[in-house]
């Protein structure tokens, strides 16, 4: 292993199978381009970073509290029956997905608990990586916001002696954010200002050598507040050196445009990402063109025209952000995916 990739999941209940699916997808994509005999495992090792406990524990605690009250107060006037309250505590899209995002964005104690867990898990994974080995991070959806905040916190948290960790002592090789909602869920840290940026010089200004952000043109969840730094961000020299990839892929492959694999399967996303993880010439221009042409042929823009229009209606530009707007867009998107998949 020459390179460790830390995987930071998004909303929902992550499982071993989910992370294995990510690894399998990365392997498949990598081996499409790697020379014969060079497997994904020869080069890379993946470690999941799971912070769902912070949300699951809240859901479970509330379910238990409800149970306790209802058990002891059943039959009392005004106290509802347990079965009438099940929708609040059973697993459904709201409780397993939307609730995660709402808790992270709007309930600071939960967000801080998540950040502490992720910082600890990231540093544990780095500590267990042999010296000199590159460490990169790949995050999806809610994970992009969590990672953004955790990495900023990691470099600011005072240690016992009052000092803080500096990027000159450790920085990531690449930070890759697919379905980047870090701006949508921005709270304590400005997404464009602090350290989540690439750089060239060996100084404390940047947490990674390379940075990739992908926000699909038709993904309504990233569009709530699109991650879109200026052309010269973070600085002209770093941009000219090709260390930042700010991607807005626009072709639709399937209904769930926010899904991890919808981003990863797109060569307009995975080719820049593989070049960051390996090196620029790992994929030649000719091979890139071949992959992109094939992808465009297999996914013509016209194929999902009706669906695209439905998504367009959800993308109304940057209105004032609120939890109501967030829920509206989530529900609208989930419904659109359901309606079109069922037909």
């Amino acid at each position: 292993m020459s390179h460790r990739i830390l995987l930071v999941h998004g909303m929902g209940k992550p499982s071993v199978a989910m992370f294995d699916g990510w690894k399998a997808a990365l392997k498949r994509i990598y081996e499409e381009y790697s020379p014969e005999g060079q497997s994904f495992e020869d080069q890379f090792d993946c470690v999941p970073i799971n912070y769902d406990g912070a949300f699951e524990e809240r859901r479970t605690a509330w379910a238990e509290q409800v149970d306790e009250i209802l058990q002891n107060a059943a039959g009392a006037p005004g106290v509802p029956a347990k079965e009438d309250l099940e929708s609040l505590t059973e697993d459904n899209f709201f409780t397993t997905h939307i609730l995660d995002v709402l808790l992270y964005r709007f309930v600071p104690p939960v967000a801080e608990d998540v950040r502490a867990r992720v910082v600890s898990a990231l540093l544990k994974a780095v500590d267990e990586t042999p010296s000199g080995t590159k460490v990169s991070v790949l995050a999806h959806s809610l994970g992009t916001s969590v990672l953004h905040d955790a990495v900023n916190a990691m470099y600011e948290t005072p240690r016992a002696d009052g000092t803080v960790l500096s990027p000159v002592d450790f920085r990531f090789h690449a930070i890759c954010m697919l379905a980047n909602v870090s701006r949508t869920l921005e709270t304590r840290w400005d997404v464009y200002k602090p350290r989540i940026r690439p750089g060239i010089a060996n100084d404390a200004s940047h947490a990674a050598d390379y940075f990739l952000s992908a926000s699909h043109r038709w993904d309504p969840l990233v569009a709530l507040r699109r991650y879109s730094p200026m052309e010269s961000w973070p600085d002209p020299a770093t941009r000219l050196a090709g260390r930042a990839a700010l991607l807005s892929p626009g072709l639709l492959q399937r209904w769930n445009v926010h899904d991890f694999s919808h981003y990863l399967d797109d060569p307009f996303v995975h080719i820049p990402m593989l070049r960051f993880l390996r090196y620029e010439k790992f994929i030649t221009r000719a091979r890139q063109k071949e992959a992109e042409d094939a992808f465009m042929k297999d996914n013509p823009i016209s194929r999902f025209d009706d669906y695209r229009k439905r998504l367009e209606a959800l993308i109304v530009g940057e209105a004032e952000f609120s939890w109501k707007r967030l829920i509206e867009v989530f529900k609208g998107f989930a419904k659109a995916v359901r309606d079109f998949s069922e037909n």
């Binding site: 020459s2 390179h3 080069q43 524990e57 809240r58 509330w62 509290q65 306790e68 009250i69 058990q71 002891n72 107060a73 059943a74 009392a76 106290v79 808790l103 709007f106 309930v107 600071p108 104690p109 939960v110 801080e112 608990d113 950040r115 502490a116 867990r117 910082v119 600890s120 540093l123 544990k124 500590d127 042999p130 010296s131 000199g132 916190a153 990691m154 470099y155 600011e156 948290t157 005072p158 240690r159 016992a160 002696d161 803080v164 960790l165 500096s166 990027p167 002592d169 450790f170 920085r171 709270t187 304590r188 060239i200 010089a201 060996n202 050598d209 090709g242 090196y279 620029e280 010439k281």
Partner: protein, 373 residues
């Protein structure tokens, strides 16, 4: 016999080389490949100075950089410095007589400074930072210091390989591999000395926060969603706006419209009605604690345990008196609550379900407060 043995050795060597083409041949340029791309590829895959490098210096350094040794152990430090010294000694032996203006001399100077900085002879500087030894794999450049770069492409490959594979290109490539190996090995050694010690101190701080949040959520008085999302969350959020890094959890919680189960005793009630379960709703209250250095909750103001108090309404179905009453409650150590309620002029004392469970062997615990006389 001799010829057969010789042939067997040749066949074995050929078999080894065909299985692991780069295992012993990394220093030798394959004319079928672009020299720069080959260098980038082999560096990235760990064949030059990395875990897969079979060069004796690389293997010796790898043995010294024993990851099983703890980050703050003096042995780790000694091993890391020894590794850098070995790299420096090898480079001096190879490049001792080179042109003072050459790239090799620059690299030698940087290696020397790295060793001196870690040996404590010189103050720590750029050469004792892992990032200073990380080769830019695309540009094939090493930025040793803010004003000093070693350009592997320009130094070794651009001119020599301009006309394609040639003896000069192959020689230049081998020299590039040597320089890249020294650099990458130094990167590993500096990372070994610096990284884990630096991150583990931060991890310790993060772990403290993890323990504190676990205490806050699991040990505290359980918060209902509205308490967490509409009261405690926003108040806490406003207080941590200027915090740097991982914010500490609060040392307080507001209690608002908090339902719970308690057991009431009213001496003046009719026989058989004195002891009843009650549904309480703490209308407003507060719970306070402090944090110790290990992330455990202690009491405020020097007390040994968290304390709280509040005003509550209580519902108990009891003949001969009002169902609803009002009163006050005290919370001790998050778990135990005591209070007084009054209804129709009758006073009752109550304890939380946790306290009553202490008396399970004495009293029968009533789980429903309707129709259970």
């Amino acid at each position: 016999m001799k010829n057969q043995l010789h042939m067997a050795c040749v066949l074995v060597a050929a078999a080894l080389l065909s299985v692991a083409p780069y295992a012993y041949a990394v220093d030798v340029y394959d004319p079928g490949q672009n020299a720069e791309t080959t260098l980038s590829d082999l560096l990235d895959r760990g064949y030059i100075g990395g875990a897969k490098d079979e060069d004796p210096l690389a293997k010796g350094v790898a043995e010294l950089l024993n990851e099983a040794i703890k980050a703050d152990s003096p042995t780790r430090y000694t091993n890391g410095v020894s590794a850098i010294f070995n790299i420096l000694a090898s480079a001096r032996q190879r490049w001792g007589e080179v042109d003072p203006d050459s790239s090799e001399k620059k690299l030698l100077g940087a290696l020397d400074r790295a060793w001196r900085q870690f040996a404590g002879i010189e103050q720590a500087g750029a050469q004792s930072q892992p990032g200073a030894w990380k080769i830019d794999i695309n540009q094939l450049v090493l930025r040793i210091a803010p004003d000093q770069e070693l350009d592997f492409k320009a130094t070794y490959l651009t001119d020599a390989c301009a006309a394609g594979p040639s003896a000069a290109c192959r020689a230049a490539y081998s020299n590039a591999v040597v320089a890249a190996r020294y650099t990458e090995l130094t990167h590993r050694a500096v990372d070994y000395l610096v990284r884990d010690k630096a991150i583990l101190a931060t991890k310790k701080a993060a772990d403290l926060r993890v323990r504190q949040w676990e205490q806050y959520f699991a040990k505290g008085i359980p918060q209902w969603p509205w308490e967490l999302a509409l009261v405690n969350g926003p108040i806490y959020g406003s207080k941590i706006r200027d915090e740097r890094g991982l914010a500490p959890p609060p040392d307080w919680q507001m209690i608002v419209l908090h339902p719970d189960i308690a057991f009431e005793y009213m001496d003046d009630a009719e026989d058989g009605q004195q002891f009843r379960p009650a549904l309480t709703i703490e209308v407003i209250g507060a719970n306070l604690w402090s944090w110790d250095k290990k992330g455990k909750q202690r009491g405020p103001w020097g007390l040994g345990f968290p304390v709280g108090a509040g005003v509550l309404a209580s519902y108990a179905d009891r003949a001969g008196t009002d169902d609803w009453g009002w009163g006050g409650v005290i919370h001790l150590n998050h778990k135990y609550s005591f209070g007084l309620t009054t209804r129709s002029g009758d006073t009752a004392i109550f304890v939380s379900a946790n306290v009553s469970s202490l008396f399970e062997d004495v009293m029968e615990k009533k789980s429903k407060f309707l129709g259970d006389n």
